[in-house]
């Protein structure tokens, strides 16, 4: 168990360092600066600082940049290792292929965490400096977005373990979109009287993640505090879903003829 944890930690650490050294990550970080400056430049009529607009746009930016990190960096974890054959060397030092996958996952999640802490902190500080008030909803929304994107990382890892880059990106985006509107699709199927599609969507609802649970906009826009119990359930749901997808990914990688 101890050696397994040390292996996971080592892989996660090197994945994190690898991501930090990537110029793309620096670019993503630097993108935040013009967006931060936009809080000032967008004020065309000199009407003063617009709190709601800045917090809303800021969270959208955080979510978008996080999504870029998830898609680009998760892809750079498993597929290049397999293509460059470095994965053979890693597997000789690993207790199992599951360990490798979990290590890679935690590497990306740590990178994502750094990004979210930096961006959410920047947003909170900008608003605090301009309005003098702490907007506690923003760090909580940042946490919820982080949970959502961690779940997406696990899905990308699962797909990366069995398909090529282009298919991984396409299916990940599809799952992301469908995951946000599965209940709406189901409702439309039911309203259209198509019970078979509704049933199939019910089944899909058990396997696919429900990203609509991570809705933060209402909470932030209306400044309504999130319930702690709901956040705990959300964290539990995210963890189980992550383990589920990583377990499937690990099992596929285990049986894959490399």
């Amino acid at each position: 168990m101890r050696s397994r944890i040390s292996c996971i930690t080592a892989i996660a650490w090197y994945s994190f360092i690898e991501a930090l050294r990537n110029r793309l990550f620096l670019g993503v970080f630097l993108l935040a600066l013009p967006f931060a400056a936009a809080a000032w430049t967008i004020d065309v009529y000199q009407l003063g600082f617009q709190t709601r607009l800045v917090s809303d746009a800021g969270l959208t930016v955080i979510s978008t940049l996080g999504l870029l990190v998830v898609l680009f960096f998760s892809l750079d974890q498993i597929i290049p290792d397999i293509e460059k054959r470095t994965v053979y060397f890693i597997f000789t030092r690993m207790p199992s292929r599951h360990t490798y996958m979990i290590g890679r996952f935690f590497g990306i999640v740590t990178t994502l965490l750094c990004l979210h802490v930096f961006l959410a902190g920047l947003l909170v500080m900008i608003i605090k400096l301009r309005t003098g008030a702490w907007f506690n909803e923003i760090p909580i929304a940042g946490l919820i977005i982080f949970l959502k994107q961690s779940l997406l990382v696990s899905i990308v890892m699962l797909l990366a373990s069995c398909t090529s880059k282009i298919i991984t990106v396409s299916i990940s985006v599809l799952i992301y979109v469908v995951g946000h509107g599965l209940d709406i699709f189901r409702m439309l199927a039911e309203q259209g009287g198509n019970s078979i599609i509704a049933f199939l969507l019910d089944i899909a609802g058990l396997i696919l993640p429900d990203f609509s649970l991570y809705e933060t906009r209402i909470m932030v826009m209306h400044e309504i505090p999130a319930q702690t119990s709901a956040l705990l359930i959300l964290a539990f749901y995210t963890l189980t879903a992550i383990f589920f997808y990583l377990a499937i990914g690990g099992a596929i990688l285990k049986h894959r003829d490399l």
Binding site: T51, T131, G205, I218, H222, A226, L234, T240, A251
Partner: protein
């Protein structure tokens, strides 16, 4: 031996590159010549005044229109939400008046889609009448007029300018000379609006009808402003064009007095409205809580906080509108928990042995009620109610959101956990 063909190859490559560059330069020159010579055809309704405008021209119109639409919807959402609770903002939910949050979004919207005349009107009214930026409002309208010179609803922009000039200075707060000066300019804009309306009437489709920017309103405003600036006969002539139904008003009363040559005529029709202004101030009778349309989406938040969301979701939050949505509670009295307890359907009994006296059937529950109901508590208001109504009762949606969303989430989570264990154990 091999140097000769190599040289000729290099020179022919140079010639090709030079020819390509020359052709490119000629194409660009021709393009710019055409654009500058026939600019009215090339940029029929769009101002191209600076580098940013040229860059915008490179983006497809559909994309710009889509983004502009999203920005307008977001601005509308901000308008309904209102000010933040933590920072001081001088506007209220449900009105564009004085709302500063929407202005940047609408500005971007008109930059992307300069042909949307309605946005100019909203922005200019807000800037001129509520945000103390009259000059900016007029500049914006002029920009809009330039960008929509040939549009059939150009009259809306002239009408908006007339409204800004007409009501920026009011007789109650400004000197009469200043009011008259502004209203004279407003009359000019109204003339332009009416002229534009009549010229383009045949081009207007039914969906272009505007409740505010229409010919009848222009005549009403024209007659009123003409009266204000002292051109009484012209005002009466304009008033004759107003439909009879619209003539029944305070302004109509003023013009009747004018026709009868009353001695005690006020300088401005506004002075007739003093009593009406006082009657406008009313106290809101909205009582919480109401339903939310899609409880599932709001499961992260406390149901007790959803009252504001309900108002936002239902638009203006008028109790009559909210009651209409609920078939269970139509035309009934709502109490503080949002339900009608005045009917005999709810049976009230006491569980406390010390309070054995029965509760009257017509009793209306309040937060101070000491009795309990037959049904369980789900409301966060503390009034311990559950409903034997239709299970789809929208008033219960906020209270049920937790159960609705939480249980499937937990079931899915446990299923995934079980599958994970099975995979790890056996695969």
């Amino acid at each position: 031996m091999s140097t000769q063909p190599q040289k000729s190859l290099t020179s022919s490559a140079r010639l090709s590159v030079l020819s390509a560059l020359m052709l490119l330069a000629m194409a660009l020159s021709a393009q710019h010549l055409m654009k500058s010579r026939y600019w009215e055809y090339y940029y029929p309704e769009v101002q191209v005044a600076n580098f940013a405008d040229i860059v915008l021209q490179t983006i497809p119109g559909q994309i710009k229109s889509f983004v502009a639409g999203v920005l307008r919807i977001t601005a509308d959402e901000y308008m309904h939400i209102g000010p933040t609770k933590k920072a001081k903002q001088n506007f209220v939910a449900g009105s564009f008046a004085g709302n500063t949050e929407i202005m940047s979004l609408l500005e971007l919207s008109v930059i992307l889609e300069p042909t949307n005349t309605d946005m100019y009107a909203v922005m200019s009214h807000n800037l001129a009448l509520y945000l103390n930026r009259f000059d900016d409002a007029i500049k914006l309208l002029h920009r809009g007029i330039q960008a929509n010179k040939n549009a059939p609803d150009l009259h809306k922009l002239y009408g908006a300018a007339a409204y800004c000039y007409g009501f920026a200075k009011k007789p109650s707060f400004a000197a009469p000379a200043e009011v008259k000066k502004y209203r004279e300019i407003a009359v000019n804009y109204l003339d332009a609006a009416i002229k534009s309306y009549l010229a383009n009437e045949h081009r207007m489709s039914p969906y272009m009808h505007d409740d505010f920017a229409n010919l009848q309103n222009y005549y009403v405003m024209q007659s009123r402003f003409l009266a204000d600036v002292g051109r009484k006969s012209e005002a009466l002539a304009a008033w004759q064009k107003v439909s009879e139904a619209r003539q029944i008003s305070f302004l109509g009363h003023y013009f009747t007095m004018l026709q009868q040559e009353e001695i005690a005529m006020p300088d401005f029709p506004d002075h007739l409205l003093t009593a009406a202004y006082q009657a406008l101030f009313q106290v809101s009778t909205i009582r919480p809580p109401y339903s939310v349309p899609a409880a599932y989406r709001f499961w992260l938040t406390d149901p007790a906080s959803l009252y504001y969301l309900a108002i936002y979701a239902r638009g203006f939050g008028a109790p009559s509108l909210l009651a209409e949505d609920c078939h269970e509670h139509r035309s009934s009295e709502l109490n503080q928990c949002g339900h009608d307890h005045s009917t005999a359907q709810h049976e009230h009994v006491t569980h406390d042995p010390h309070l054995q006296q029965p509760v009257q059937p017509d009793h209306v529950c309040g937060p101070g009620c000491e009795h309990d109901h037959h049904h369980e508590s789900t409301h966060a208001s503390g009034a311990a109610h559950e409903h034997e109504h239709d299970p789809e009762c929208p008033h219960c949606a906020s209270a049920k959101s937790w159960k609705q969303a939480g249980i499937p989430v937990m079931i899915q989570a446990f299923l995934m956990l079980a599958t994970t264990i099975i995979i790890r154990r056996f695969i």
